[in-house]
Amino acid sequence: MAALYASRSVKVAVVSKLYPTRSHTGAALGGIGAALGNEEEDRWEWHAFDTIKGGDYLVDQDAAEILAKEAIGAVIELEHMGLPFDRTKEGKISQRRFGGHTNNESGKPVRRACHAADRTGHMILQTLYQQCIKNNVAFFDEYHVIDAIMAGDRVAGVVAINIADGELHVFSAKAVVFASGGWGKCWETTSNAHSMTGDGASVLFRRGIPMEDMEFFQFHPTGLYPTGFLITEGVRGEGGVLLNGRGERFMEKYAPKIKDLASRDVISRAIAIELREGRGVKGKRYLHLDLRPDTINRYLAEAGETRRIDAHYIETKLAETCDQARTYAGVDPLSEPLPIQPTAHYAMGGIPTNVNAEVIANAAGKVVGGLYAAGECACVSVHGANRLGTNSLVDLIVFGRRAGLRAAEYAKGADFAPMPANPAREAEAELNRIRTANGKTKPQVLRKKMQSTMQDLVGVFRNGPDMEKALGIIRELRHTFKTDLSIDDRGHKFNTDLLEAWELGSLLDLAEVTTFSALNRTESRGGHAREDYEKRDDANWLKHTMVHRQADDSLSVEYKPVTITTYQPKERVY
């Protein structure tokens, strides 16, 4: 999105370690929220408030207002670019219900998620790539960015390795936008792609940019068991229900008003409690998500709704879900409920930016010249302590557009920043160190240990002693990574052994910051649920965490106030 908008006025290159259509946006399924009001009354103010409430009041409210307001125009623009949204009878963009999106007057779920079947992310990714081709954007496909070049308080470019031949390239740029995604691969059970290793965030963190609100990582309630692949919230938006091992619709107990459409943190905790108290299915670590037409229709009738659905409807509206369930769980969702478990899904925190997507260097909001970030890697913060479903796509469209426009504007009024001598030197040295390392430990051993540690000790529920332990382990792993690593492939061409090790280095850095930030925040809020501090503590913790890497490799914290415009924090009830 950023590249497309910037390309309308300046020369743009996209540098990506994957072919652009391989990015994980393509795995987003259920929809993109925008208060179009095509199906029923809706207002952008309601979307903004739902976002703030969903984020447990850690959301910067000015950013949430921009998100909700600009979502409308941005979705319409996607449609104009050719995005094949599903349609209503009147030919308008079709909208469905999603968790936490409500009519603020009645408190009932509202149809706000614009969708193209259940492959909305795929269609967004394809559509934006298509339009970039139309606009002659230059693509450097399979170039892996491994460093950012800083020149004083501005950015001068990036260093990337051309994966095909292993050559390093220095990209000189007046402005740079990071849209490099999240780091779900820190955990064992995750909906994330193998490539979600947080390289972009990690590169900037090493170059002195702080990481904001890293303790907030979302666990999506419905990962397919046992792989952790995402089953869209759209299933519940269409009427699907969660059932425990006794066949009880347990969300009635945890969120009496909107039940299975409560926000994700609430449902993931409910599932974790059900599992912990022995109400899993057949004594195993999963529950059921039931989308059989009979079940859905029974609950629709119970809720007094006239709408009824049939197998064909499920098969078309949730085509990807049906395919995934059949392929990976061997379950036909039309005749059996799906086995599900919470799965590590989305980074609410990340590279700190202001509402113009400009990266900031400290809690005072000092802007780094020419440097921008948007999408999951960034923290504006519109998601606060817990992201609402569909808002990841809204975020990357709205703030991607802002990043592109701002970056272009900046580039037009700036010269190239002076390039330091031999700007690729440090990255090259580190790459060569890994390539030729003669230690005893394979990356896979470290990766497995990191993932199980994060899964067991920094998961849906956390506590101090567990996280102390996790921090110690992660730091040990980082040490081993630096001193005792070895890989098999010492070549230059398409060396994925080397790049996987590089990615592990990024993950370890971010796992450490995540654990450090989570240990530091002594309250429970949104996706950060501490067993030793069960309550939200606005008096002490209504503020963003900003963690810096110090020259001696230690971590330090400062805090940034939350921007409050209209909505005073109150207790969250669904």
Binding site: I72, H80, K92, M123, D323, D489
Partner: protein, 241 residues
């Protein structure tokens, strides 16, 4: 269960020509996928084994390869399909130059993709709502349904590299590019129909298709590829969608 993997290997920095290597993997689950097997080899036995993969759930299109002679996504094939003692042969997709092991040069494929104007063209002013703001262009449910199948394409190249016409002549744009063209030809909102049909009637375009039908079963997304190509041929003959 134990699995035997036979893999076509080639390292341009070491090998004069490709060769077959065999790996034994112990204690596999029937629901493991071929991609899991490749990862276990890479992570436990030989880190030099090279392949592309990303999402591992059949949506990114990175890991198309020839598995026991058929083009599949390694992340979408469960090993249980090969019996109780699976023997699985894996090689790169055919018709594109091999870069290393299972990785092929995708540039010729993407060149063909880019050649079919794979983007919406509609320069008419957008509708405006009661509030003066732009609104969506309307499309009926039936018009939207018309090109639904071809919007599923993930550009994995499984269809194109299963096509004997493409193997014989790399200039042929191949099924995937035609699928992408179909997605716009049959979209009622698009206004470049004439130009598209002209492009697609090029000698290296749809008429190279001999309806061999390899592409349809190769598609991991279940797209009826041959049918889509047939519809494009018909549209060219009619001069209309």
């Amino acid at each position: 269960m134990d699995v035997t993997m036979r893999i076509r290997r080639y390292n341009p920095e070491k090998d004069k020509k490709p060769y077959w290597a065999t790996y034994e993997i112990k204690d596999c689950e029937p629901t493991n996928r071929v991609l899991d097997m490749l990862h276990r080899i890479k992570w436990e036995q030989d880190g030099t084994l090279t392949l592309r993969r990303s999402c591992a759930q059949g949506i990114c299109g990175s890991d198309a390869m020839r598995i026991n002679g058929r083009n599949r996504l390694a992340c979408k094939v469960l090993i249980e399909e090969f019996g109780e003692r699976p023997k699985i042969q894996v090689e790169p997709i055919l018709g594109l130059p091999v870069v290393k092991d299972l990785v092929v040069d995708m540039e010729p494929f993407f060149d063909h993709y880019r050649s079919v104007m794979p983007y919406m063209v509609n320069d008419t002013p957008a509708p405006v709502g009661a509030d003066g703001q732009p609104r969506e262009r309307l499309q009926t449910i039936a018009d939207r349904e018309r090109f639904d199948d071809t919007t599923k394409c993930i550009l994995c190249a499984a269809c194109t590299t299963s096509c004997p016409s493409f193997w014989a002549n790399g200039q042929y744009i191949g099924p995937a590019a035609i699928v992408q063209a179909h997605r716009f030809i049959f979209d009622s909102r698009d206004q470049a129909l004439e130009q598209r049909l002209e492009l697609l009637s090029d000698e290296n375009s749809v008429w190279r298709c001999r309806t061999i039908y390899n592409c349809t079963p190769a598609c991991p997304r279940g797209i009826e590829v041959t049918r889509a190509i047939g519809e494009v041929k018909l549209a060219i003959q009619k001069g209309d969608r």
